[in-house]
Symmetry: C2
Subunit: 295 residues, 2 copies
């Protein structure tokens, strides 16, 4: 009887499951699951889903942003090369990052005294806290975290010179509210706000599915900073799964030399990132991108 009830329940659940897709240039990536929340904010449409494979997930304007069981592949790669390489580590700025994963990775470093997060859409934060609590985890209650619900493009114009040791841009694809996060004027503002010895980091799209945008981000950052280099990895839920993050600094490429004491603090907690992985990931630039950047 219990077995029968269980079977019935299972069938019921199975029936309710649908395929939830992101479609991009005639390619689709789908997870089997349920839509559990859908909301239109002044900035975008937010969907929360419960997938069989990767737990709960977040979509903005029908593009996959993150899932509970496949988020470290993104957040570790964005955060650790920047944080481990910066000269000092007092004040860190996150632009975007409303799901909390980037803040969580940053706050693992005790040295960070102050972490500002400028997110445009309060509902991304609120729904992430409610449905994806493992993303932000303890960060949401960490007294070092200061959340500012602002348009970062406007906000950074007013921000103090030489203030942050690390700036991390954790935004969506360059359309909708995230579009201007890849604009040269915004990046120049970031440089002004960054302290000497600081590191700038941004997700920089796929060398495959967003090839032109990817190249443009690197080229623009090389105009603004003395050094900028892409690092390549894998985020299966994003278009093509082949993803990149780009790091920039002045005087020398500081992101290439992680500081040992910070590495020791963080390594055991990482799923993907290690100094070996990072060293490799800065070198796995595909030949077709390297040729364009050299030309």
């Amino acid at each position: 009887m219990i077995i029968f009830e269980y079977k019935k329940m299972k069938q019921q659940t199975e029936k309710e499951l649908i395929w939830i897709y992101e479609s991009h240039n005639d390619v689709r990536y789908g997870l089997k699951g349920k839509l559990i929340k859908q909301e239109k904010t002044p900035f975008q449409e937010i969907k929360i889903i419960e997938s069989k494979r990767y737990g709960k997930g977040l979509l903005l304007d029908n593009a996959w942003m993150t899932t509970e069981k496949q988020e470290k592949q993104y957040h570790e790669c964005l955060v650790h090369p920047a944080i481990c390489g910066a000269k000092d580590l007092n004040k860190v700025l996150i632009i975007g990052g409303g799901d909390g994963g980037t803040a969580r990775e940053c706050l693992k470093y005790k040295q960070i005294k102050n972490l500002d997060m400028v997110e445009i859409d309060i509902r991304v934060i609120e729904l992430s806290k409610q449905y994806l609590p493992s993303l932000g985890d303890k960060a949401w209650n960490d007294s070092r975290l200061n959340i500012k619900i602002k348009n970062a493009i406007e906000w950074i114009k007013q921000a103090k010179n030489n203030y942050y040791d690390v700036i991390i841009v954790d935004g969506a694809d360059p359309k909708g509210p995230a579009k201007q996060l890849f604009d040269i004027n915004f990046l120049k503002d970031c440089k002004r706000v960054l302290k000497s010895g600081g590191i700038f980091a941004t997700q920089s799209e796929s060398p495959e599915s967003f090839r032109e945008i990817h190249i443009e981000i690197i080229q623009t950052l090389r105009k603004v900073f003395d050094y900028a280099d892409p690092l390549y990895g894998s985020v299966p839920i994003y278009p093509s799964g082949w993803w990149s993050w780009t790091f920039a600094s002045d005087e020398k490429p500081r992101y290439l030399s992680p500081k040992k004491e910070r590495v020791l603090e963080i390594s055991a907690q990482c799923e993907i990132w290690s100094t070996r992985w990072q060293q490799g990931a800065f070198n796995t630039i595909p030949a077709f991108i390297e040729r364009v950047l050299k030309s």
Copy 2:
């Protein structure tokens, strides 16, 4: 009027297009296109599709094998680390590889005098020649290529000792006809057939979607050979897109040291592979796999 006709034609074509998926563990990867050929052979079901994004593509038992415009990401990574590192380069063996892409990459090296290909299913070769001619390209008419339509598991038992300089296993996932290509007895036969100074190479699945199998392949190869190391890359059409190839040799890890004259012969023709890329790709072992292999 022409515009109207064009629109009509476009609508017609658009209507005929369907999503063609590979589903794996509640995750789906789909390309928009048309099914143009479907055939059941004694070994597997072959499908040829015409996709909007990546040109024509091949599926075996509903798993994506290759597409015209996304095949170098697989074939370059499998072939060049092996061919560039081997001591000599007279005789090369490909097991599987019926689409022709691996043979094409091998035959770019003038030094290779003889290339044997042992493929179980003649229809994979015939349909690839007919529908995906750019994969094999000039290889199909190269007098150095000898095709043997055989079960490689049986065939290799009879093969001569110390005969090949490089052995490349280009098989499907370990189920169906490809299952035994990951078995220790088959791998021991490969070692016996490999000359001293030779390199063995195999695709070794995804560290994400086939994590256990991936680890097992590396561990088994380390039992059979003195050295075996995985290399990581991206093949968007495969489950998770995050893919690996594993290389093995005796005495020293020869695959880590590509020979300069061979690199010069090949580099300009590669889309992904370069010595820098290769060096990086051997290091981007994710922390969770490195921990398991060290334990």
